[in-house]
Amino acid sequence: MVTAAERVSSHKWGMAVDVDRCTGCQACVMACQAENNIPLSTEDIYRQKRTFAWIRIERYWYGEFPNVKARFIPIMCQHCENAPCEPVCPVFATYHNTEGMNVQVYNRCVGTRYCGNGCPYNVRFFNYWEPTWPTSLRNQLNPDVTIRSRGIMEKCSFCVQRIRRVSRETTRDGRELQDGDIETACTEACPTNALVFGDYNDDKSRVSIMRNDDRKYTHLDALNTDPNVVYLAQVDATGGAAGGHE
């Protein structure tokens, strides 16, 4: 039997984003919305500046007209090792678990919104209203994910429901968890494989290889948040690297 100590150190989940491959198609945004029961960001909510998107595409323009280039960076919860959101929570609703994930426990959250203020990446969202969906989308909701009620924080969970399901299936079938077995909704939807999910503890996994790439950078690393989401900078056509961070 696997002891608790062996179990805790077995995985460290992370994501690598190759910004060079991202075309800004928003497929990950839609996949995430469908997978995680994210409320619709209607025009009304947009005007209140309370839109929801666990993953969003940030767009940057480079150059002078007519030589303008659009560049895209997908931003989701960075699952920081030194997360600014965690120590401010008075009820431990957000904490770092042993698998390297920044976890949001919905039933603990009391809605102080301290974590949202602490997050430098703006990836935490507060449910100001009870989420509603049009009748046509009721049967689309994912039964594996809690519908967050009014008054609590939510954010990217690294599709923990998929991690749990695949882990369960591999244990049932008595096989080892392979790199690529677990795909989050966004990595599965990404047509250019710009988003890659995997286990940093596995040296041969795609994310481990990408994390050791020369182009690797992390967002706002001056804040020393040590994110588990790493980015590979964009390579310019002229040969110079020109990502969101030089």
Partner: protein
Amino acid sequence: MDNGRPAWVKVLIPVLALGGVGVTAVLGFVMVFIMTAWFGNPLPVFGFDQSPEQPIAFPHTAHAGTDPLVDVDGNTKMDADGNPLTGIGLDCTFCHRTVTTTNAAGIPPVETCVTCHRVIGATDSEPLTILRTIGLGEDPGPIQWKRVHRLPDHVRFVHEPHIRFLTAADNTDVIANRDEAAILAGMNSDGSVIPAVACSTCHGDIKSQEQVSQVEPLKMGQCVDCHRKNNAPTDCTTCHF
């Protein structure tokens, strides 16, 4: 004994005393109710009945049990030849088919009932007539079974790994509310057991219940206790996501 108090005070004192006792009793009852609901099953008052009446009285005693059946007066039921009727001892997974593979144990389709009840059972029995009507495709709508074992919406419970763990060869001593005879009878040659004997850990002895009730509190403390004892993960995201 006239110590100078007016008559109305003499009346007021016992009234106040009795009122105080009454208020204390009501508050005490409310406290007991809250404490029992917090630590276990709530008292079966105010509609917090853990054993709801089902639209069709489905006796698990007759289907899953093997003991002689008794009617409401306590007499043993007899068949036409005068022999005592016993339960037929169906395996739980005969009807709750998905319990070993997926999240939910599942309520069987009415067609499963009608497989047997097309012929078995009295022709004038009202619930069986309903079953046959639905099962044969004529529509009075689905049967609105009342849920007995219900977890809150923020808990993701999956039956499959629990059944897998409890039926494995080395883990049969974890099964709670156990029926030793059934466990011995359901044991495979390698020491593992059939899924049906593991259900009692959380659901109690269903096969002896005429009307199913929730016997275990099924609170988070019970889950975490068992997970700790058996080295199962206790991270929040094991169940909450």
